[in-house]
Amino acid sequence: MRIGFGLGVALSLAAVAAALLSFLWTPADPTALAIAQRLQPPSPAHWAGTDHFGRDIASMLMVGARTSLAVALLAVGIGMAVGVPLGLLAAARRGGLIDEAVMRMNDLIFAFPSLVIAILITAVFGPSAVNAILAIGIFNIPVFARVTRGGALSLWTLDYIRAARVAGKGAARISLEHILPNIANLLIVQGTIQFSLGILAEAGLSYVGLGAQPPTPSWGRMLAEAQTMVTLAPHVAIFPGLAIVATVLGLNLLGDGLRDALDPRLRRAR
């Protein structure tokens, strides 16, 4: 478990570090074309080789990490910012009209395949990173609303919530002081899962050309461009694929480790 957490921290930090470092420095200009240098295998000059336009893949991956992480993080932010309050509200008014309305709205969003709606949104408003964030974020809302409501409902029946009500606290204050901290571990785990799913979704949208637009590098589009020459120069596809896998794996391990570390009961048991 500790090894897994360590690996998760290392992989996630590596992705974030690569993204941050790319603002200051990259091994080469990720947008500079050099047709003569195309499809070169990894070498000291080009750590991850070059693609079919002779661009440095390592540099593109670093800048691509920026896009992937930013899109996924903002999408999770949208999902949490809207979904968690809705879930808390639904749980506080459980069985009432508000609860019913919130949950049926969630069903409505869930009813449509997410990629279809994402394609619709980007098709109407034009493909861009911002629209990808919105599209992925909207689908995170019902996920967080449900997790929050489910966790909160089981807490509302506990005696310490009743004790807080006897102490005159209202539903909003109880939700913030007692419910939210006690479901934080659920949300953190769900957050890291949605974060990694967001990275996958962003890669998927970019892959079909609906994410960040050229010349902004993006892991998904790098994969899409590499697929026609995967037999010719496998490294062009392998490195972006590895970047996606490593980041998603790292985030999931990180979420698991955080859940254990944040729970005082588990901490004592160790």
Partner: protein
């Protein structure tokens, strides 16, 4: 003839000793009661015998059962024994059954697993065994699911499963602790009947001395992993040779010193409940049909004077918890009214009125937010009054008053035992100096000695702060020890109201008589 002979049973789990030198004999057709407080090793003894100890446990010693040493058997051999030769019943009938299988399937499964019968034949035997435990086919067909049965009926199904193959030994681990007193009496009757009829031996594990006195021929008293005293039940209970046995006895019959409440007389009542009605809407029986209603509280009226102790007794489902929530102003009433110090109690009532009533709940584990420090938990009711500048000192003083140290405020709740947690709950209720504390089964989850200490504490605090208590419990003896007056509640109504001593020694209502008769008692002349 001796069926089970246990000698020098030692168990340790990851180096921590759990049992040390446990030994006892159990004869065919006899009942051995194993009594002790939580953590004394009663359940571990049973689990060691049937080879179900948690991982990391080390066992040494002997346990000869019908010519075989149970502790030396392989897991495969034990699987053959469990269910066939040794039946088991556990405390919690709500979780001991599979909710997705019918009761017939579950009883028949035991037979099929052990190859004792084919599917069809097993169903026939299952029907017969269920009828024997009091679930006849015409009213309880095999096709029922566990959720269609009450707690007592589910425990009967568990018993039918345990005795389906007519085992030689029945291990019953707190079989009636989760049940109401009247149900408990019926289940104990059933178990002793089965033992006598089928010449089974029973190992009865319980914390309740009174249950043992009425059921077991022999008793072994456990403390901290050892048997400190054993012998014929009557002899052990009469002589109480060991100091621990004496302390257990003293604690289970404990009545704190308390002055009777000042005569109420002309003083206006502190709490007044008049014709309270609380209904729950049930699901519609058919689409568009009106919701049927369940009257959980049906026209309840009573008054409670300042500084008075009032007991409210009833079995689960009688409406006492619903009434409690209404009195605390958490749920609205559909009819009647509740007045506290003359002002109406309802959800959203004035904070000033709320400061006059606080509560202590039953479950010492669920009553506190695990993420808050104790000082913040105890100070929570200050939300009503505004937190004074010296709140830390006040919390420290409250903790001291309930027998903890002021420094405990910086700890988290998981660092405390069950009894300490109930003390913290009392400190939280006291911190804003209410007039009335509702004690909702506040000592039911505690061991007898801890319970005696908490009862003492409550009596002392009542004296020094002139508190009124509404003491809600299913346990008649506790209610009698700490209250002046008792209300008996059945199916949402108060059926009897009178002085505690009178109601519990000479009950007038049929239901109270039934309750009093069902409460297990240690025979008077043994004490």
């Amino acid at each position: 003839m001796t069926l089970l002979q246990v000698r020098d049973l030692d168990v340790s789990i990851r180096g921590t000793p759990i049992l040390a030198g446990v030994g006892f004999d159990l004869a065919e057709g006899a009942v051995l009661g194993l009594v002790g407080e939580s953590g004394s090793g009663k359940s571990m003894t049973a689990l060691a015998l049937i080879g179900l100890l948690p991982e990391g446990a080390k066992v040494t010693g002997r346990a000869d059962f019908a010519g075989r040493d149970l502790l030396a058997q392989s897991e495969a051999a034990l699987c053959g024994l469990r269910g066939r030769e040794i039946g088991m019943i556990f405390q919690e009938p709500m979780t001991a059954l599979n909710p997705l299988q019918t009761i017939g399937e579950q009883v028949a499964e035991t037979l099929v697993v052990h190859g004792a019968a084919g599917r069809a034949e097993a169903r026939g035997i299952a029907a017969e065994r269920l009828a024997r435990v009091g679930l006849p086919q015409d009213r309880f067909p095999l096709s029922l699911y566990p959720h269609e049965l009450s707690g007592g009926q589910r425990q009967r199904v568990c018993i039918a499963m345990a005795v389906a193959l007519r085992p030689k030994l029945l291990i019953a681990d707190e079989p009636t602790t989760a049940l109401d007193v009247t149900t408990q009496a019926q289940i104990l009757d059933l178990l002793t009947g089965l033992v006598a009829e089928e010449r089974m031996a029973m190992l009865l594990i319980t914390h309740d001395l009174a249950v043992v006195s009425g059921t077991a021929d022999h008793v072994a008293v456990m403390q901290a992993g050892r048997i400190v005293e054993a012998g014929a039940t009557e002899a052990v209970f009469r002589t109480r040779a060991h100091d621990y046995t004496r302390r257990l006895f003293a604690a289970s019959a404990y009545r704190p010193d308390r002055r009777p409440a000042p005569p109420g007389g002309a003083a206006p009542p502190l709490l007044e409940v008049r014709g309270a009605v609380r209904e729950y809407r049930l699901p519609r029986p058919a689409p568009f049909a009106p919701h049927p209603a369940l009257r959980a509280v049906d026209g309840v009226s009573f008054a409670l004077g300042p500084g008075e102790s009032l007991g409210l007794v009833g079995e689960s489902g009688c409406g006492k918890s619903t009434l409690t929530r209404a009195i605390l102003g958490l749920d609205p009433l559909q009819g009647g009214e509740i007045r506290l110090a003359g002002q109406p109690v309802r959800p959203g009532m004035d904070p000033d009125l709320r400061t006059r009533v606080q509560v202590v709940f039953q479950d010492p584990y669920g009553s506190f937010d695990p993420r808050w420090r104790v000082d913040r938990l105890v100070a929570e009711p200050f939300h009503l009054t505004g937190r004074p500048d010296d709140w830390r000192d006040r919390v420290g003083a409250a903790l001291e008053e309930v027998g903890l140290s002021p420094g405990d405020g910086t700890k988290f709740i998981h660092e405390f035992s069950g009894g300490q947690r109930q003390r913290i709950a009392i400190a939280r209720a006291l911190i804003i100096r209410p007039d009335l504390i509702v004690l909702d089964e506040a000592v039911s989850a505690l061991d007898v000695r801890v319970r005696a200490q908490v009862l003492d504490l409550l009596a002392r605090l009542q004296d020094s702060h002139r508190l009124a208590y509404l003491f809600i419990s299913h346990d008649l003896s506790v209610v009698r020890a700490v209250t002046d007056r008792v209300l008996v509640m059945q199916a949402g109504r108060i059926v009897e109201d009178g002085a505690a001593e009178a109601v519990l020694t000479a009950p007038r209502h049929a239901y109270t008589q039934q309750l009093v008769a069902a409460t297990p008692k240690i025979p008077e002349d043994w004490i």
